[in-house]
Symmetry: C2
Subunit: 383 residues, 2 copies
């Protein structure tokens, strides 16, 4: 069965007031708005969220959301896969439609983070690592520093290649009214920003963000009743790597990206050459070239060239993170994987405004932890 | 597609050492043991868990589990639906097989609670209620007291009718070596136990519990390659009610139980009369008669008679909670819905030892909060 995405929405990302429930409600109602689908027609409601219990002491948010938008008695479930909860939500929504369980599934990704201090939030995020790492104080930013040093040394890549990822993604966010940081930066600013984990600096990392994004799924046959044009989720898959990062043969190669990508491509009947636009998980700049390589867009050790030489800029042959990416659109953990698909939806249907590119097929990649579990998805314009 | 349950296991429930990951690993490996299915054949791994982040600061348990049992690169996801996370896991596993995404899905439910004080655990559990309730200090035990008074008054039911639920379930647990409390109690003990929320007393409530349970799912066509006899998950569905309990017309009627039950029965092509054994969500004794009524096993206002008159005892016409139920087998939040299906699996295949009843079809009901979201499932012996 072809699984359609009938509608897509996201809230303004950034520092927001209220509870995560408020953000989720805003995105959900906006997603239903103008579709002709009432909330009472939603039979399955999935909430992608990493840590509302830890961030605000609320674990029944999906049930509150069902009530707040008027979807009771729809079935609800919280989909959890750490920082890849949104991508896992795409997969859960696909399964609910493809299995025949649902005729209309609303997926909402949401996280509210900025009301906590950076230290508190970092501690919550670090809970996704292995306890042996967590107990020793290892965090994702420090992993990234170690892996970046290895990558730059091994492939003789210049330090500024990573700065170019940040510059590109900020430049894209400047044209995205929903993005957290709608401003450009230059390479010098990135290279001179405060050190975080040598060799990586402040501008290599994504911020803490509040935000929500939503997608409405149904069988393609049902979508045709509501809309002339829509998007199809033609491939979606997920895979794990070792949970302990030091167990990996090579921390500069993302096995779970490669495995989930192969499966998603096979399911869609497409390959890397067929992808016109991609939203990759740039929690840290380094991850963008690593994903380009694991998906086969770039040769091994060559991914760092793509932001520098313009391949992945908006006018390049493979625009990456036209939304601004996690770096500049922002990274509200559970919302990110959903927001990635929202951006691809908008690009495919010509709704991306000043950042519009030409695209018939797009890819999203949402990474849990340092590649501990990854979901990849292929979206195409419905024909 | 017929979705098979090929194997079922659970750990000893009670006060356990270690992390939730240890309990989940124990149940998972035990579930694979003797099936002929290696961990590497598991392509999807779902972890039903309510609050490992809150209980022990770990949110990547499903990824750790995949590595610990040797299932990498299997896709993993945490399934969250508060105290009904286990039932939601049954539904997620069904969808993964029925959609064709998976050929072999391992579902593990687990929670580790007893290392926290009763106060801390109660606070974590109360996070599943609506913030307006939570902020005012309302907890599930206090809701239950209010609803019990209403129910007993309205239907002229004797107080001891609820005590009989506890007595019956303790009597069943005495014959379940995996149960937390393997001892009988009498009605007087229940009625004289310390008051919790008038009119309910200590023995009306389930305990805090550590434990894990697991089920292995695959298409029935695949199950036949591995086993001569197995179980089929022939019906499964979920539904929400209002998240704010006081918004309901009648807190003694469980809308979400009725709605999910109707859907699960319709999917299985069965009705209440076809069910030979049931595991209901007796977080508090009152909930057992309420579920009997909502499913249509008992007339409205008559459910309280069933434990008293022997209808739901082991030698009655509809044995309920032969495992001991949440009351005496224990209630490790995310594990409970899975453990309910483990008990039905064992009853259907004649593996229930001293508590064995005759059954060809069984029902489980897992309740999130005070009926905020409920999943119901019908399991049958494969033919």
């Amino acid at each position: 069965m072809d699984v359609a995405v009938l509608s897509a929405s996201m809230t303004q990302f950034g520092t927001r007031e209220g509870w995560v429930r408020d953000l989720a409600t805003e995105a959900a109602l906006d997603c239903l708005d103008d579709t002709g689908v009432g909330a009472s027609a939603v039979d399955h409601l999935y909430l992608s969220n990493m840590a509302s219990g830890e961030f605000e002491g609320q674990t029944g948010v999906m049930n509150a959301l069902a009530y707040d938008i008027g979807a009771v008695p729809a079935y609800t479930q919280r989909v959890g896969q750490t920082s890849a909860s949104g991508g896992a939500g795409l997969y859960a929504a696909w399964q609910s439609i493809a299995s025949g369980a649902s005729e209309m599934t609303l997926l909402v990704g949401a996280e509210k983070m900025t009301h906590r201090t950076t230290g508190e939030a970092s501690d919550i995020i670090a809970s996704l690592t292995h306890p042996s790492e967590y107990a020793h104080g290892v965090t994702l930013p420090s992993f990234a520093g170690l892996a970046a040093r290895l990558y730059l040394d091994r492939f003789d890549a210049p330090r500024e290649s990573l700065a170019h990822v940040a510059v590109k993604n900020h430049d894209n966010a400047r044209n995205n009214p929903d993005a957290q940081f709608q401003k450009s930066i230059d390479v010098e600013t990135a290279l001179e920003s405060p050190m975080v984990a040598d060799p990586l600096r402040l501008y290599d990392y994504c911020p803490l963000t509040d935000g929500s994004a939503a997608l409405l799924f149904c069988p393609a046959s049902v979508a045709r009743e509501y809309a002339d044009e829509f998007v199809v989720l033609s491939g979606v898959a997920g895979a794990t790597d070792t949970h302990v990062v030091h167990e990996r043969d090579d921390p500069t190669w993302m096995d779970a990206v490669a495995a989930s990508g192969e499966q998603a491509f096979e399911m869609a009947g497409l390959g890397p050459d067929d992808i016109d636009v991609a939203e990759l998980h740039d929690m840290v700049t380094l991850l963008e070239p690593l994903q380009l390589e694991a998906f086969g867009f770039a040769e091994r050790g060559e991914g760092w060239r793509y932001a520098m030489d313009g391949t992945t800029t908006r006018d390049g042959s493979l625009p990456v993170n036209t939304s601004g990416g996690l770096k500049a659109r922002g990274h509200p953990l559970g919302a990110t994987g959903v927001a990635q698909a929202v951006e691809i939806y908008r690009q495919l249907l010509g709704e991306a405004g000043q950042r519009q590119v030409e695209a018939e097929a797009g890819l999203t990649c949402n990474v849990g932890g340092f590649g501990n579990c990854v979901t990849s998805a292929v979206l195409e314009v419905a024909r």
